[in-house]
């Protein structure tokens, strides 16, 4: 188990108003294919709002980065000792948020059937890597949110739908930071929206305490066992 207690320094509560809450089913192949083909040209062709382009491209960069890290992991079946030096050289480009990584040739296996069965089995093999699939799941969720946000922006750019309109961060040192989307300040239901977020924050604090108690009492001794 990861030492999660070491990594928790803040609790962040985000409140989002959505058109509808859907049951998201994660299908690795679909998510992989959707993110693999993200590029500036496809985003323009699909008329994705320009304000979201960088965030979509970030998904593609993260996927590429995850695969590169897998290729550098000696314990992974994807470890590529012949190209390790070159992959390592490209890592700074893949980890920085600018656009230079787009000039790199992709190492990811292509999803479509143009190159035959070897690519399909490579991708299937990739889905056996738990860390990669977990990253893919996270990226899929972000993409879903971006898709909803894009849909909203196309029809009503001023809408707060499908976008975090309020965020509260509570640090362990007692610092509390509240952030609000500009649109809610002039929103006709501003009071209601702020109240909804306050309810969320109050409730989360209590819920979080209980979850932490469980984790500390039950899992912390077990995690130390696994470490040893």
């Amino acid at each position: 188990m990861n030492n999660f207690l070491d990594n928790i320094t803040t609790i962040e509560i985000n409140t989002v108003i959505v058109e509808e809450i859907v049951d998201e089913i994660f299908i690795p192949w679909e998510v992989y294919q959707a993110i693999y083909y993200i590029s500036r040209s496809t985003l323009e062709a699909e008329e994705v709002p320009p304000s979201l382009h960088d965030r979509y491209l970030n998904l593609r960069r993260e996927l590429e980065l995850q695969y590169s890290l897998l290729s550098l992991d000696r314990n992974s079946s994807f470890y590529n000792y012949l190209q390790a030096a070159e992959i390592r050289q490209n890592l700074p480009l893949l980890t920085s948020p600018n656009h230079h990584w787009e000039s790199l040739d992709t190492r990811l296996p292509e999803p479509l059937l143009r190159k035959g069965d070897s690519q399909i089995s490579a991708i299937a093999h990739l889905f056996e890597e738990r860390q990669f699939v977990n990253t893919l799941r996270q990226l899929g969720k972000i993409k879903n949110n971006l898709d909803w946000r894009g849909h909203t922006l196309r029809h009503n750019p001023q809408s707060i739908l499908n976008k975090t309109y309020a965020q509260t961060t509570i640090s362990l040192d007692g610092k509390i930071t509240n952030r609000y989307a500009q649109q809610i300040l002039q929103h006709r239901d501003r009071s209601c929206l702020l109240q909804l977020h306050r309810q969320s924050v109050d409730a989360t604090s209590k819920q979080w305490q209980e979850l932490l108690k469980f984790a500390i009492a039950f899992l912390l001794p077990a995690s130390k066992m696994q470490k040893h």
């Binding site: 609790i11 962040e12 989002v16 058109e19 509808e20 819920q207 984790a215």
Partner: protein
Amino acid sequence: MSLDSWLQIDEQRVSRGRIIPYRVRFDLDSRNLTEIYRVYTDNSKIQISSNKLTNLRYYALLASQNIQESPLVFATNYLQNNQKVTIVQSIISLDGKVSQQIRQDVWDSSQTREKILPLHHWLIWQMLRQLSFKIKNYSFLIALALALLVTILLIPTIQVLLDKTILLKLLAIGLMFSLLTYSMQYLLIHQFKAWILQQLLFGFLSYPVNKRKIGLKILSLLG
């Protein structure tokens, strides 16, 4: 008051031998909403059935093992005009990130704002506060019992091997018993417990609920 009728823990098959929870769902309608709201206003406790509580603990355990990838998801559905609609969903990750998704027509309905939303938060809290259970550290007693058993079995061998006075034989047996107790306790705490956790999360104790109960029980006895 029992939650069984309208509390569901949705599960999905992730591999041939593995089914895991992925969401906790509260299915509310006009009838049970009144009952639950009364419990809420009375500040009473909601009793969760043993099976559902086991699955909930298992869900929380899984979420803690896959922190970034498997948050706890709680959704409240409301049945109206024969249609089940998800009104609010809370996604709680053990790394501190919490997302509250609220359906857009919430503020149009005073019932939703004043009853369903507070109940949603309260029900989550009610469930999470029942996650923890008594952990008793019986590892020493178990180790003692195992060491005693092994010692008794090995006494004839010692008697044959040690052609010495009775005092020396007793000393040898005592020493062996102590070493065995210490070793057994070490194995129980450092190896067996980790193995049980592994089996509970990914192995033969991960499904169905009765096996999960056994796994959780064993972990609770080992401290």
